[in-house]
């Protein structure tokens, strides 16, 4: 049981500043996993939080504002990645194409996330949320705005494909 003071704090609407400070890092990680660019990830996360800030009166009233901002950033990230990938031949020097890796991320880890991004968009989103944030299927479904059974299908197919491409074995835990 939480102390009374903490319960009182939780009863008040959370300020945007507190929400931003707590969630920003995780949202950048999701954006990077799905976009592959550290610069794009930063911009996408900023954009998602700016969108939340503009509508904070409404978003702060949601049961899970964090899920809302994750849905926004994951959709934006996938959208940007797909668009840039299709334009790759035509546009030679787009910053996003350089796929700037995060410093400190080893090649094999970067390759893992590259393979995640190569999956169909919903599978990539589901896997990023599931692995990066240790979210159970129900929470993945909440963030993606789909049913639990649909999220399970995305996770199952994504894991199966990813394992095959990385020559790894799967353990059906979902």
């Amino acid at each position: 049981m939480r102390p009374t003071e903490e319960l009182q704090v939780l009863a008040r609407p959370e300020s945007f500043d507190v929400f931003y400070a707590r969630e920003f890092r995780s949202v950048v990680a999701i954006a990077y996993a799905l976009s592959g660019s550290r610069w794009a990830a930063e911009d996408l996360a900023q954009e998602a939080f700016l969108t939340a800030h503009r509508q904070w009166d409404r978003v702060s009233g949601y049961d899970a504002p964090g899920a809302w901002v994750r849905r926004v950033v994951s959709n934006m990230s996938v959208s940007l990645y797909r668009k840039r990938a299709s334009e790759a031949r035509a546009i030679a020097r787009v910053a996003f194409q350089r796929q700037e890796p995060l410093p400190g991320l080893e090649l094999q880890d970067a390759e893992f996330w590259r393979q995640v991004r190569a999956l169909p968009r919903r599978q990539a989103q589901a896997l990023a949320l599931h692995y990066l944030e240790d979210r159970p299927v129900a929470e993945v479904a909440e963030v993606l705005g789909c049913s639990v059974s649909t999220a399970k299908v995305h996770l199952h197919k994504g894991r199966k494909t990813l394992a095959a491409r990385l020559s790894l074995a799967t353990e059906e835990t979902t």
């Binding site: 945007f16 950048v28 990077y32 800030h53 705005g145 074995a169 353990e171």
Partner: protein
């Protein structure tokens, strides 16, 4: 062969650590870009208030000089400031403000003339104008975005629903109206607690159903939105799903729509652009088939 989950755990940890290191630089930047810019009217109000306060102080200061010069005269509680330019009591309303029949009475004058300075409680009710829909308008969707103008800083509510109000007092609220004629009443409450109401009457007529015998029977209706948010110009989304083969699919929203027909296997997909969607606002998109099924999605435009 190592397991996928083991590899995923390692790569997830590596990514989290990498972001942790990069975060210091990111968090040093503070709030998202545009945060300060999104509140220009608030800043101008603060400056206006500070300016007004300075003028009042100047008047009081000059009055003290007058009182000390005429100390032998009787002291009055009414302080006469020197002639000064009028002080704007409230920021001007946006130029889009236009009184309509569904308007509360605006104040006769929003400026304070030079004269005795008096501290007066704000008892003036806030302005409240409904600019959409127009009185007696008929709408084609049950999802209606009501919009209007109120006093900056005021809140606008309809029952338990609160409208989004920007710093200039422009407000909007999406409501679902029933079939037929409805009168919707909004309440504006200013920062001093003064309230005013305005109403608008509108009609919603749902589209006429297609004769059911002309369409093949069977096929579950499903609909999905691809993105839900788009930063491209014009913003768009791709909707897809399944329905009875040959079924007509209609996508509608306040800012755009489209239609398509399910193919022989019952699959359908269509791209819909929302060219006039305002930046950063979330609105509802309704997908229907001609069998009466429907699904509603949210869409947010981030097209700059």
């Amino acid at each position: 062969m190592s397991s996928l989950d083991e590899r995923a755990r390692r790569s997830s940890g590596a990514l989290r650590e990498a972001v942790e290191e990069a975060e210091l630089r990111l968090l040093d930047a503070g709030l998202p870009r545009g945060t300060a810019a999104s509140r220009p009217a608030l800043a101008s109000r603060v400056l206006a208030f500070a300016g007004a306060f300075a003028v009042v102080l100047l008047g009081l200061g000059m009055a003290v000089v007058q009182l000390s010069m005429f100390a032998d005269q009787s002291v009055t509680t009414v302080v006469e400031p020197s002639p000064a330019p009028p002080v704007t009591a409230e920021p001007p309303l946006p130029s889009s403000f236009a009184p309509s029949p569904a308007t509360s009475a605006p104040p006769s004058d929003s400026t304070v003339p030079a004269g005795p300075v008096q501290t007066q409680a704000d008892t003036e009710p806030p302005l409240l104008v409904i600019t959409f829909p127009a009185e007696a308008q008929t709408v084609e969707s049950e999802v209606v975005r009501f919009a209007g103008v109120t006093e900056p800083g005021a809140t606008v509510t309809r029952g338990t629903y609160e409208a989004d109000v920007d710093t200039e007092g422009n407000w909007s609220l999406v409501l679902v109206v029933g079939e037929g004629t409805s009168t919707v009443t909004f309440t504006a409450t200013d920062e001093a607690g003064n309230g005013t109401t305005a109403s608008v009457t509108l009609s919603y007529q749902p589209p006429v159903d297609q004769p059911p015998t002309t369409k093949p029977v069977g096929g579950d209706f499903t609909a999905s939105a691809t993105y839900g948010v788009c930063s491209e110009t014009p913003p768009y989304d791709v909707y897809y799903g399944s329905a009875a083969p040959g079924a007509a699919i209609t996508i509608s929203s306040e800012f755009g729509g489209g239609s398509t027909v399910a193919d022989a296997e019952g699959s359908w997909e269509t791209k819909v652009t929302f060219a006039d969607a305002p930046y950063g606002e979330t609105f509802l998109v309704t997908v229907r088939d001609d069998g009466g099924n429907k699904k509603v999605f949210e869409f947010t435009s981030l097209a700059g």
